[in-house]
Symmetry: C3
Subunit: 352 residues, 3 copies
Amino acid sequence: MTQKTSDGNYFEDFTLNQEFIHATPRTVTEGDVALYTALYGSRFALNSSDIFAMNLGLEGAPLDDLLVFHMVFGKTVADVSVNAVANLGYAAATFGGLVYPGDTVIARSQIIGLKENSSGKTGVVYIHSQGRNQHGDMVVDYVRWVMVNKRNPKAVPPEPSVPQLPTHLTVTDFTVPSEFDLSTYETDLAGSEHLFEDYQVGEKINHVDGMTIEEAEHMMATRLYQNTAKVHFNQFAQGESRFGRRLIYGGHIISLARALSFNGLANGFKIVAINGGTHCNPAFAGDTISAWSEVIEKSELPGRRDIGALRLRTVATKDQDNSAFPLTDGDGKYLAATLLDFDYWVLMPRRP
Amino acid sequence: MTQKTSDGNYFEDFTLNQEFIHATPRTVTEGDVALYTALYGSRFALNSSDIFAMNLGLEGAPLDDLLVFHMVFGKTVADVSVNAVANLGYAAATFGGLVYPGDTVIARSQIIGLKENSSGKTGVVYIHSQGRNQHGDMVVDYVRWVMVNKRNPKAVPPEPSVPQLPTHLTVTDFTVPSEFDLSTYETDLAGSEHLFEDYQVGEKINHVDGMTIEEAEHMMATRLYQNTAKVHFNQFAQGESRFGRRLIYGGHIISLARALSFNGLANGFKIVAINGGTHCNPAFAGDTISAWSEVIEKSELPGRRDIGALRLRTVATKDQDNSAFPLTDGDGKYLAATLLDFDYWVLMPRRP
Amino acid sequence: MTQKTSDGNYFEDFTLNQEFIHATPRTVTEGDVALYTALYGSRFALNSSDIFAMNLGLEGAPLDDLLVFHMVFGKTVADVSVNAVANLGYAAATFGGLVYPGDTVIARSQIIGLKENSSGKTGVVYIHSQGRNQHGDMVVDYVRWVMVNKRNPKAVPPEPSVPQLPTHLTVTDFTVPSEFDLSTYETDLAGSEHLFEDYQVGEKINHVDGMTIEEAEHMMATRLYQNTAKVHFNQFAQGESRFGRRLIYGGHIISLARALSFNGLANGFKIVAINGGTHCNPAFAGDTISAWSEVIEKSELPGRRDIGALRLRTVATKDQDNSAFPLTDGDGKYLAATLLDFDYWVLMPRRP
């Protein structure tokens, strides 16, 4: 009689180049979109209005890029990070074809690096994951690395292998879907008159608003993504943890920060790449999240007169006023109230 | 470097006849409808069943009228009432074309009145707002007035201008969508045998049931409507307010009261007009909402033998038994437990 | 002036063979499906992916069987169990045609048994309910019995009548939708390699994961089903009850247990029958639900080489580790932590 319940993979279960096809394939729908709006209050016009999206050359309103990311990420958890001690980082995330309600997303992963830690009790696993739609087109592609427990501390470690990962992407690393035509972009409907030319490198923007998180909200979000990480859902078990609380999925904070960034970045209509992100401190129900952003880099896009790319750092904090743009202390350590330091590229219309 | 974050309009920023096209256009979907049902538990058959709606001559189940109202109202907040001290009232709301999943709603407003208060620190702004669908058809149209702070108390006040507003509408002020044909209306599926002829002016109905509100629920609702009023979401800031709590969007109470009114008014299948409403006291998470209604007026409709109109007052209370129809104290002041006094017209089938 | 509010039926209001057509008909949508995923985190591939479902011969992903059950059950409450003292049991539930987004479900019931209790204050009502789609096809059919208060204790009792009900169904009692063709079933997408042949009668499976319930979640679920039972929603009234709390709809626990059972029973792709279920103890917000299952019976299906049926007992507990499969105490009484003892048949692919 075989064990029917999966307890997930431990460090010694992974091998270099190992491939996974993850359960469960997911048809994304207008229902998911409505829940995403209800959970984060996002107001970017491209994802809110079919008509607005069609005016930009699309077939209708595509799903928010982060919703696609969460759907794919969620599927990888059962195979890759159920026994993770820590999510160490992610890098080189690019978004491919737009995802529309009715599309079906499948996630695959490959192990691209393995390195046992000196303690001999854990190791770091590097995973390259890709989400594809029903036509086989890439919709999101990224690398993450996690620290995973060994089941048996005496298991022989694999040959150490650590992939080369870029600190950040540049405009030649990502693609702008060719169907976009921004010539009739309407700034009044989009909610701001500030376009690509108006932003300067080094400029900081306080997004002002704050949003308090409830347990029901972050759990509904994380279940919607079919993410099964136990720490988000089980108060009976978490009560015994060092936090004593359910931990909020880091992606929930990213989505809240992106939604809050609308006030100041309303025309940053699409995320095209994620360079990396640090979840500096855990978030819990009851925290009030607010955010600020800094323009790190600006870039024109080859072959496009209508769109430019802004590289942004968006920082989410809890229970803070962000008018002084809090981030680190005098020693460069993240402040206790800093939850997220997120580095990504958005597209923004250029002035005609 | 221009300020990228909008801090909203202050009293001196408004001018008479000023027009707004509000962000963000919104395609409403079956996802929004499902969330509306999950948040309020509404059971009116017209909005619940495509088949029932098609039997009445429609193309499918239209959105609940209040869901349409909230969607339009929500869009006006960022331009009109972010710096509001108080929502003073609304009037003359009519509903036009039915809204179906897949339709895209856009909101526009015009300033139709301005009057500085004697304190010199605030003023009253009268706004005429209209929601339209993708064909340009009016779907909802109303006036509201709010008290808004001045940024600079020394700013020169505008010429006072106060619009004439009706205390209530009559049947000639609103339209019944012509596609309605009630000849095959099924009372068993609708949930009640009581039709237009059975209600009498002065009759009071205790809707009996109660619904306790959670923070996650009212915030999900208000974000679904893309309403950005800060007081609903930010416990960190609200903790410093005189209430110490997040305030619940008044429209949430209206929708709960309407859903509760099903038990007693199940055949009041459509709201056609809102004469006005008073949010007598603020509502908070943990409050249990119940409701009662009074029939204020009955009217036949020109050219329709199958439908009549009832003008109703629906009162929502908190933590109360409503069998004595509580409303005001001996001095005519609203009781502390009275949350809403809502005056509106519904359509109801007439006996063949 | 007639009483407009329904206070529901009391024991003496029911007559043998009485029939009900329940309000409110309900078109089920992708919005309902998204909410179901967000509320329970279910990962069964059949209900999650149109492509996966089409590969099995269906037109798209059908609704989760339990979502259909809850929708039908919810509609019966206002007519049948508003004045119920206790839900005593249910039996002989079978699922018929698959339900897809866009279908409209209507519920009908017939009273098939009545028996006054010896106290003279209450009686037991046996109700046979059936949900049908817009084509009149049966989608779910079941019997339940509830203890209902008498309005007037002196009302003359009806002739006692108790229907014969099966303790459990067998494979000849239920039907497998003929459109299913499992020949290309993909176990990697489904999330498990364990098929019909791998399970043995008597085998117990600890589903490991736990899920803490919030008030907002169970109320949103129960309203989504348009279930109006007062005890789930009204803290003001429930504060006076012997529990002092809102009670969670028993079906919410069933759905959570089914979703948790994915880890161990991922290929149990469809519920075809429910033999019965006991809600051993009430559940409240804050409870962390986990589950274990036992294989009670295995059966091949007449005329099908690709599918077998497993009869399962799934037990839900609260705030428990389930590695010792807790159920009853030494006297055979359910433990205080046992919430649900659920007996049902699922379909599972057979090895080619």
